[in-house]
C-alpha cells in the first residue's frame, strides 16, 4: 500500500486481495483518503466487494467475478472489462465499467447506479430491486429477469426474453429487442416516462448524447403477479 496526498494505491501483484478488501472494509464513514487506486487487478474476483465508505476506487484493468458487490456509498470505476456479477446486490454508490460487463451485471442490486460503457452479457439486472443500470452498448438474453424495481436503460439492443416475469422494474431500450419474456410488454412512452428517462440519462452522465424519443419502454403486463389457476400449464 502506498499513500500520497489522500490517494492510496494497492498493487495486487504486491499486496493480496484480502489486504485490499480488509483495508477498504476497515474504513469509517469519514476516511482520510478518498481516492483509491488498484493496480494489476489481473482478473481477480471480488475486488472492492463489500465497501461501505464514501470513497472513489479506480481499478486499472480487467476484473473477475463480483467486483464491487454489495457496494454502499463508494464510486468504483473499472478501467477494463468486468467478470460475472459486477455490482451484484449493490445498495448505493456508483459502479462504472469502462469496458464490457459479463453476465448478471447488477444482479439483485437494491440501489445505486451501474454504468457499463460497452456491452453487458446475459441476465443483466436479473432480479434488480432498485438499482439504476445504464448500458451504452447492448445487453444479452434474459436481462431484467424478475426485475422488481429500478431502471435499466440500454442505448444498444437487447437479447432474447427481455424482462421475463418482470415486476415493476422500468426498461428502456433504444435499439432492437430480440424478444420479450413472459409478461413483459412494450408500453407507451408518455411525457412523464421521457422525463424519467432524461433524469436517468443525466444521472449517468449521458444527458444530451441521445434523444429520449429514440427509446421504447417495456414493463410488466402484471398478469403473473399472483398465481392464477389458468396459468398452471405454464409452470
Amino acid at each position: 500500500m502506498n499513500m500520497i496526498e489522500n490517494e492510496t494505491s494497492f498493487d495486487l501483484r504486491k499486496s493480496t486481495l484480502r489486504e485490499l478488501n480488509q483495508t477498504l472494509h476497515n474504513l469509517g464513514s469519514k476516511p482520510a483518503a478518498r481516492c483509491w487506486r488498484v493496480q494489476n487487478p489481473d482478473g481477480a474476483h471480488a475486488i472492492a466487494a463489500g465497501v461501505k465508505a464514501p470513497i472513489t476506487i479506480d481499478v486499472e484493468g480487467h476484473v473477475g467475478y463480483y467486483c464491487a458487490g454489495m457496494n454502499q456509498l463508494a464510486t468504483v470505476i473499472v478501467h477494463g472489462n468486468a467478470g460475472v456479477g459486477v455490482a451484484e446486490n449493490m445498495m448505493s454508490g456508483i459502479v462504472h465499467v469502462k469496458g464490457d460487463a459479463s453476465q448478471a451485471a447488477g444482479a439483485t442490486a437494491h440501489g445505486g447506479t451501474l454504468i457499463v460503457n460497452g456491452n453487458a452479457s446475459a441476465r443483466c439486472g436479473i432480479s434488480m430491486k432498485g438499482v439504476d443500470i445504464l448500458v451504452k452498448g447492448s445487453i444479452g438474453h434474459m436481462s431484467a429477469f424478475m426485475g422488481q424495481a429500478g431502471s435499466l436503460v440500454v442505448l444498444g439492443n437487447a437479447g432474447e426474453a427481455l424482462g421475463d416475469s418482470i415486476y415493476e422494474a422500468r426498461l428502456f431500450v433504444r435499439g432492437s429487442v430480440a424478444s420479450l419474456g413472459a409478461d413483459c410488454i412494450e408500453k407507451t412512452m408518455r411525457d412523464k416516462d421521457k422525463a424519467y428517462l432524461a433524469e436517468k440519462l443525466k444521472a449517468a452522465g449521458v444527458a444530451g448524447e441521445v434523444d429520449v424519443a429514440e427509446f421504447k419502454r417495456y414493463g410488466s403486463a402484471r398478469r403473473l403477479y399472483n398465481f392464477h389457476i389458468d396459468n398452471a400449464g405454464a409452470y
Binding site: G43, D100, S102, A122, G140
Partner: protein, 299 residues
C-alpha cells in the same frame, strides 16, 4: 465447474513458447478444476505418418512396443515416452492395424488420441503437477487446448480427464454437462463410432467428429451441434489446422477470449489470460451464446 483454455498462434515466432504459455493458462485454472488436467498440443507432423498418444503405466518398458508392433507397423515404430504417456509414430496407413494389435497384445494400454500433429496428455492430479510431469512448458506448436477438471458427470479417473479425441487430429474440452448424451451416444454408436468412457464430453467430441466425417467444416459442425446437443456447454475444439469455440444458448458456463495480431486465446476466466504477451492491449470479449467462433489456418 472445470476450467478450459485454448491458444491459437498467428505469429510463428511464438511457436516455441506455446507450451509455456498454455501451461501458465492451465495452472491458473486450478481453482476451477483440481481433480485432473489434460491438454492437446498441435506440434510438428509428417503427413505420411500418424502419432498415437498412448496412456501406459509409468514403469512400462516402451521397447516392448518397438519389438511387438514391428510386424504391423511396417518396421519398428518410433516411440517417445513422457511419464505415463507414450507417443508412437507409425506410417499413416497402418493406424487401424496398429490399434488392433495394441488392443490384442497390450490391453492395459489406452489410445487417447491420434493425429498427424496432435499429441494428447492427461492425468489425475493438480494441473501444475500434470503439466510438469509431461514437461508441457517445453512443448512447441501452433495451437493447443487444455482442461482442468472438477468431475460431475463421471468418476475422477484418467479416462474421464479431457481432452477427448474421437477423430484424427480432432479433440475437445468441455465445461458443463450434457443432458442428452446417452441418446446421442446411442445414435453415434449406430453410426459406427466407438466410445471408451461413459463421459458426456466424449459424446460431444464424437458428435463433432461424426459431422466432420460427413463433410462438415469445423464451423458447420459446431453450428449443427446447437440443434443436437442439449445441456450446458462451453466447448473449445482443436483440429489439425483450426481452433473453435462454442457456447450453448443459455451460456451458463463462462468464457473470455482475447485476440491480438499474434494469437487468439480462450479462458474460462480472464485470469487465465493474464500472463500472455500483450494481453493488456488485446481485444478482450465474451463470446456470444449460440455463436460458433473458429480460426483456421490455410492448409
Amino acid at each position: 465447474m472445470c476450467g478450459i483454455v485454448g491458444l491459437y498462434l498467428k505469429d510463428k515466432s511464438l511457436e516455441p513458447e506455446l507450451g509455456s504459455m498454455l501451461s501458465s493458462m492451465l495452472c491458473v485454472m486450478t481453482d476451477r478444476g483440481p481433480d485432473s488436467a489434460g491438454f492437446a498440443i498441435y506440434g510438428q507432423g509428417n503427413p505420411d505418418q500418424v502419432k498415437l498418444s498412448l496412456r501406459t503405466a509409468s514403469d512400462f518398458d516402451v521397447s516392448d512396443l518397438e519389438s511387438e508392433l514391428a510386424d504391423v507397423s511396417g518396421g519398428r515404430p518410433s516411440v517417445m515416452k513422457r511419464a505415463t504417456h507414450t507417443l508412437l509414430t507409425i506410417p499413416a496407413g497402418k493406424e487401424a492395424a496398429v490399434r488392433n494389435a495394441i488392443a490384442a497384445r497390450f490391453p492395459e494400454i489406452a489410445v487417447v488420441g491420434s493425429g498427424t500433429r496432435m499429441e494428447i496428455f492427461k492425468e489425475v492430479g493438480l494441473p501444475a503437477d500434470v503439466a510438469s510431469r509431461f514437461d508441457l512448458s517445453r512443448m512447441t506448436g501452433t495451437h493447443g487446448i487444455g482442461h482442468t477438471r472438477m468431475a460431475t458427470e463421471s468418476a475422477v479417473t484418467t479416462d474421464g480427464a479431457h481432452p477427448f479425441s474421437t477423430g484424427r487430429d480432432q479433440c475437445l474440452v468441455h465445461n458443463g454437462s450434457l443432458s442428452n448424451h446417452a441418446g446421442v451416444r446411442r445414435m453415434l454408436t449406430h453410426a459406427g463410432l466407438t466410445f471408451t468412457t461413459d463421459n458426456d464430453s466424449e459424446v460431444a467430441a464424437g458428435y463433432l467428429s461424426w459431422r466432420m466425417q460427413k463433410g462438415a467444416s469445423l464451423g458447420e459442425a459446431l453450428r449443427e451441434s446447437l440443434d443436437d446437443l442439449d445441456g450446458f456447454y462451453t466447448f473449445v475444439v482443436g483440429t489439425e489446422s483450426g481452433f473453435g469455440v462454442l457456447r450453448d444458448p443459455i451460456a451458463c458456463k463462462p468464457a473470455v477470449m482475447a485476440e491480438t495480431d499474434r494469437y487468439v486465446a480462450f479462458g474460462s476466466e480472464y485470469r487465465a489470460l493474464v500472463n500472455l504477451p500483450g494481453v493488456a492491449n488485446a481485444k478482450v470479449w465474451e463470446p456470444e451464446p449460440s455463436t460458433p467462433y473458429f480460426w483456421e489456418s490455410a492448409a
